[in-house]
């Protein structure tokens, strides 16, 4: 096992940027660009959006522990699903929300997989958890106080993708 490198913010940003870019470019054919790091809010909640959101969540457990939330607005989530599965608008309407949930869950799984593979290779072996989906409008996610939060915004050809990373601090 390689000697563990300290997980700095720069490292987290590098891994998540690479993961988001790889996944959206390979699977959706779109190239997201890192746009901003959300200002440190002292672990406070991620600002609520008024637009319907689909949020994929996958955790990683091992020598690094945490959760990654991938926020997409519903319209973009639908576009990603159509692209991923080669479906038309009508086919997607017929298939229903379950298909969108599964597709965004898988995109999140791949993204968090890429992120945590970076952590593993830096000496922090960990495993993925099974994805879950949050849906809704005007909601916020509150972390527990012991978690460190990093929020990164990506611009994906006019759509916003937000990676919200909560990492458990060493005890």
């Amino acid at each position: 096992m390689p000697a563990a490198t300290q997980i700095t913010e720069a490292l987290i940003r590098e891994y998540i940027t690479r993961a988001v870019t790889d996944v959206f470019k390979t699977m959706i054919g779109r190239e997201p660009k890192f746009s901003t790091t959300a200002p440190n809010q002292g672990g406070k909640s991620h600002p609520a959006s008024n637009r319907p959101q689909v949020v994929g969540t996958v955790g990683f457990i091992g020598e690094a522990n945490g959760l990654v939330y991938l926020h997409l607005d519903l319209e973009f989530a639908r576009n990603c699903t159509k692209q991923l599965l080669g479906m038309t608008e009508a086919e997607l309407d017929e298939a229903g929300d379950e298909v969108i949930n599964d597709a965004i869950g898988e995109l999140t799984n791949m993204t968090v997989g890429g992120f945590k593979n970076g952590l593993c290779d830096a000496g922090h072996p960990c495993k993925l958890t099974i994805p879950s989906i949050l849906r809704g409008t005007n909601f916020s996610i509150e972390p527990i106080s012991s978690a460190i939060r990093h929020v990164y915004h990506f611009d994906c050809e006019g759509h916003q993708v937000i990676a919200d990373i909560l990492m458990k601090q060493d005890e």
Binding site: T26, L85, N109, K116, P125, P131
Partner: protein, 388 residues
């Protein structure tokens, strides 16, 4: 034999993507949402390849793989991991249990297919004529030749066909073209520098999309060593320079398994017309003979009992044509069909010179033959060669 591929993934999305990727190939896709289902289907169906995820509920991929490899009946089934778990240590741990390949998500469908094709021999759903069916259908021909004059010569020589012909001059351009849109036939000049033609041929054959695409070698007639080398390597056909365009067209049509009968046989109203072209090479005669009996029988079967044999385009007779005409007339007699011949003064004159053809009667136009067909006896027996 139809290959079976089992995809074991809790994500329906991934299973759909896998199915989509394999759609162009003659493969049956089996699905399982976790390791328990995966083992049950593997035992029941004995798939030829398993694509296995790691993180799954009920039973994860590592446990399923371990159980699979400890089962004497299942351990020989090749397994390819398809997972987001790509950390070095993790990959090494799984590799030790025994996997054929490891593909980390996200993945491109082409990469998945390319890796799978190393394990199973993927064949397109419709082998042989993938797109074109008859000589009137469009088809894509890629010409890989660094001499623009040769490309132009082929384009000019085959411009009467509906085929789209594109020329590229290097191996790199050819690979780009083949990857973007696999053509129906590829013609590669063996005179490309540094044996690039043979390297290109190998790359074409290892690409799953072009594995079965006919590849012709284009070579100077006197370069017999290169021709032998091309045959040994497995080129589909050899085309020699100077190019005989008729031969090239015939070979392309044959390679694409096109129905070329319409070149010689057509139904016009209630009459079938058998037409021979101006140049009747041995290849043309052989092609016309191949279709003769089936086409005549097809006409009778659909209620047509009149045939015009039109050879007015032919400049000069030879034994191959005479034999073909005898065979056509005999087939008409066997099927109790009326027939008439259409010729030109040169042909009629030449017919008078042969004992066997001296009695043939010709009309000088198709319309005249059509109008007079059936007015005589049921089976025409030409008496004298005359211009009507």
């Amino acid at each position: 034999m139809r290959y079976k591929v089992l995809t074991v993934d809790d994500s329906k999305t991934v299973r759909i993507i896998v199915k989509k990727a394999f759609k162009p190939f003659d493969v049956e896709i089996l699905e399982a949402a976790n390791g328990v289902e995966g083992l049950a289907i593997a035992a029941k169906e004995t798939p030829d390849l398993i694509l296995l995820d790691v993180t799954m509920p009920v039973m994860d991929g590592v446990e399923m793989l371990t159980k699979l490899k400890s089962d004497a009946a299942l351990k020989a089934i090749p397994v390819m991991m398809l997972t987001a778990e790509g950390g070095r240590d993790h990959v090494l741990k799984i590799a030790k249990i025994g996997v054929r390949d490891y593909l980390v998500k996200p993945f491109k469908e082409e990469v998945l297919i390319e890796k799978c094709s190393r394990v199973i021999d993927l064949k397109p759903v419709n082998e042989g004529p993938a797109k074109a069916k008859s000589i009137f259908d469009p088809a894509d021909i890629l010409i890989v030749e660094d001499k623009p004059a040769i490309v132009q010569q082929i384009q000019d020589g085959l411009k009467h066909t509906p085929w789209r012909m594109r020329g590229v001059s290097t191996q790199g351009e050819a690979l780009d073209a083949v990857t973007k849109a696999p053509p129906d036939v590829i013609i590669v000049s063996l005179s490309l520098p540094e044996e690039a033609a043979f390297t290109l041929f190998r790359l074409i054959r290892t690409n799953v999309k072009t594995k079965y695409t006919p590849v012709f070698a284009l070579v100077v007639k006197t370069e017999t060593t290169q021709q032998q080398q091309a045959q040994t390597v497995g080129f589909s056909a050899i085309i020699t320079k100077p190019i005989d365009m008729g031969e090239l067209e015939t070979k392309i049509a044959k390679a694409m398994n096109l129905d070329t009968s319409q070149r010689y046989y057509a139904t016009e109203g209630t009459i079938m017309v058998m037409r021979l072209p101006e140049v009747c090479s041995p290849a043309v005669i052989a092609e016309a003979v191949t279709y003769l009996k089936p086409k005549f029988a097809e006409a009778v079967d659909s209620g047509i009992n009149k045939i015009v044999i039109d050879i007015h385009q032919i400049k000069s007779l030879h034994m191959g044509i005479i034999k073909l005409l005898f065979q056509a007339m005999q087939t008409c007699r066997d099927l109790a069909m009326h027939f008439a011949l259409v010729g030109n003064p040169q042909i009629i004159s030449e017919c008078k010179g042969f004992e066997d053809t001296r009695g043939w009667t010709f009309y000088d136009s198709l319309d005249e033959a059509k109008n007079n067909l059936g007015k005589g006896p049921a089976v025409s027996t030409p008496q004298m060669a005359t211009v009507e």
